[in-house]
């Protein structure tokens, strides 16, 4: 059939409309799925942002889907991702310990030990960098490291992908990847994306403190006094302007967005020399970053002993005593540790109250949630 001029114009307008939508308009873009790894047929995961929490920025090329989160959980607990198939991510990030390791240093498949305490995996979707020294800027980037690290799971990604691709178990990983990403061809990129999706669902927001913030329960007098202590400036107001005889915890463990971390890096006065572990300086190369480590969240802190980047403190009492002492002066000690010559001078009663508050951050429902446990 010959085209009439009118038909030609109609076609032109149709093409122009499509072109305009594709190039010029925000509204015509698919907001939930970008990039070649997105599977438009996957079911969007109904992520619920808890009250008082900020929005979670999820990478446009890795939106949460039911299938992706399920696959991520399978992979998080998958022991075949380690050299001798004896360890999974969950081996060092134990749910009942706030997804951290009760040992100061985790032991890898070869028997080698790490050099830092395994961080608690809580509310990672709001973090702005990963690892104690912040060397990974995204969750996906962070997940790449432990599998291949010789002191951890010690498996090359080539081999890891090969094992998953050849999986003949009931899980059937190629099938799981097909559901999640629309392809049964497994890659390291897709594997970390799935694990990242799962980790973003590890949201702790139902501690006693959260329930109190929502008006569902009351804090005891000691817990509330500890909370006030947490929020008060340290120091004697007679000698320190603004001193409030407080615990001075809130600067780094800010309660903004109920994250209890500022996501920044601080030298909290543990050492005066940083030869053994330079912290952030090892990444930035800046001498003034020596001894700085990322502020961990205090959520589930009562479950996630030992404490500090090297797990040197076994109990929260030791941690409080450290801050109460003022810590060790050094060239890079954080200005927040401004009482290095005298300490906070908290009384035993005040320390007990602070401890009581820290225990209100324990979220038992989170650590025992069935959807986070080993599915294998």
């Amino acid at each position: 059939m010959d085209k009439t001029p009118y038909t030609s114009v109609k076609e032109s307008i149709t093409w122009l409309l499509l072109l305009t939508c594709l190039i010029g308009c925000d509204r015509c873009q698919e907001p939930n799925c970008e990039g070649p790894d997105c599977n438009p047929t996957a079911t969007p995961y109904p992520l619920e942002i808890p009250p008082f929490f900020p929005p979670m920025d999820i990478p446009a090329d890795n939106p949460l889907t039911e299938e992706g989160v399920h696959l991520g959980r399978l992979l998080f607990w998958e022991k075949s991702l380690s050299l001798d198939a004896s360890m999974s991510c969950g081996s060092c990030h134990l749910p009942l310990h706030g997804f951290s390791d009760p040992a100061p240093y985790s032991t890898g498949v070869t028997g080698a030990q790490g050099t830092r305490n395994a961080m608690a995996l809580i509310n990672l979707g709001w973090a702005t960098s990963y690892f104690w020294d912040g060397r990974a800027m995204t969750l996906e980037e962070q997940i790449l490291e432990p599998v291949a690290h010789p002191d951890e799971m010690a498996l090359t990604w080539t081999e890891a992908v090969s094992r998953l691709q050849a999986d003949a178990s009931e899980v059937n990983y190629p099938e799981q990847f097909l559901k999640a990403f629309g392809t049964s061809t497994i890659t390291s990129n897709l594997t970390v994306k799935a694990i990242a999706q799962f980790l973003r669902t590890l949201i702790s927001a139902d501690s006693k403190f959260d329930q109190w913030r929502r008006g569902e329960t009351n804090l005891t007098d000691d817990e509330f006094a500890g909370y006030e202590m947490f929020l008060r400036e340290g120091g004697d107001p007679e000698t320190t302007p603004g001193g409030q005889f407080g615990g001075d915890c809130f600067h780094c463990h800010t309660e903004a967005g109920l994250q209890f971390s500022d996501y920044l890096f601080h030298n909290n006065g543990l050492d005066s020399s940083f030869v053994s572990d330079a912290g952030l300086a090892g990444v930035s190369g800046a001498a003034l970053d020596s001894g700085k480590f990322k502020t961990p969240t205090l959520r589930n802190v009562a479950l996630s002993a030992p404490y500090m980047h090297d797990g040197r403190f076994q109990t929260l009492e030791e941690v409080i005593d450290h801050y109460n002492s003022g810590g060790v002066p050094s060239l890079t000690v954080d200005p927040f540790m401004k009482y290095t010559t005298g300490g906070l001078e908290l009384s035993p009663v005040q320390k007990t109250q602070l401890l009581a508050f820290l225990h209100t951050l324990t979220d038992s429902a989170f650590v025992s949630a069935p959807q986070f446990q080993d599915p294998h």
Partner: protein, 264 residues
């Protein structure tokens, strides 16, 4: 109708219609306003923030001396700037609507705001945050890229009741030359009472042109926070003020900071 069009309109005559159609599609279909449609954002005024110490270029981490010859090093300098305004020829203040968090740890700190075209003979801005966006605000209510959000305000938020830290001025000092700089210096100023306004009468008016960028340099001399014309701070006697409820020292520091700014 279609037959009529087909038989009476020649193909080449339709070209203008196609272009008109394209233009209409763009105008109607896009969510982003076009510059000629956007009367509210006619010109951009940018102030490039520059850090100095006693009139010389300064970077955080550099060792220097205060007015009492104490070796000193600033490690952190952050501050909220809000309510940037320009005074027009009618003597009225045109106000920008943005909040800025200057962080001198990061290169190329800038304050950008939009103003109507015209001539302006004075500049004004607030150090800190006006009360309506300070206390009783939940940072979680802002998108994460906003300077007042949980992420954007990292370390610059006290509590819901007391709001944001307006200025952080932190570093280390030594009691005398030759000693290691390990004494902490830590000034955190905030609270509604600490809000200060900085104003300059300009010797030469600046012109904001529609859709054009007008720039100037905004210099902060950090040494003047410790030594001003009417006041001075002894960092050994007063190395710390941290108080969400405001302190006399915090107020003095904010007053000194007002005079630490110059426009270049």
């Amino acid at each position: 109708m279609m037959k009529y069009l087909s038989s009476h309109i020649e193909k080449r005559n339709l070209v203008p219609f196609v272009w008109i159609g394209l233009l209409m599609l763009i105008l109607v279909g896009c969510t982003r306003p076009f510059f000629w449609m956007d009367d509210d954002v006619p010109g951009t005024f940018r102030m490039d923030a520059i850090l100095e110490w006693e009139g010389q270029p300064y970077s955080l981490g550099m060792e220097t001396e205060d007015h009492m010859n104490h070796p000193l090093r600033l490690d952190n300098l952050q501050m909220y700037i809000s309510e940037v305004a320009l005074r027009n020829e009618q003597g009225e203040w045109e106000k920008g609507d943005k909040v800025h968090l200057l962080d001198f740890n990061v290169q190329n700190q800038r304050i950008l705001d939009a103003f109507p075209p015209g001539m302006y003979d004075a500049i004004r801005f607030g150090m800190g945050l006006p009360s309506e966006i300070n206390a009783d605000i939940d940072p979680a209510s802002y998108p994460n890229d906003h300077p007042l959000s949980v992420v954007g305000s990292a370390g610059m938020f006290w509590t819901w009741a007391s709001g944001y830290v307006f200025v952080k001025y932190e570093g280390k000092y030594a009691l005398q030359a030759g000693e290691q700089l390990i004494e902490p210096l830590s000034y955190h100023c905030g609270t509604d009472d600490s809000f200060r306004t900085v104003t300059w009468e300009l010797e030469q008016s600046i012109q904001i042109r529609r859709q054009n960028l007008t720039t100037t340099e905004l210099v902060f001399d950090a040494s003047k926070v410790l030594l001003g014309e009417a006041d001075s701070i002894d960092i050994v006697m007063d190395p710390v003020t941290h108080n969400s409820e405001g302190t006399i020292l915090g107020g003095r520091l904010m007053d000194l900071m007002v005079d630490a700014w110059t426009i270049r």
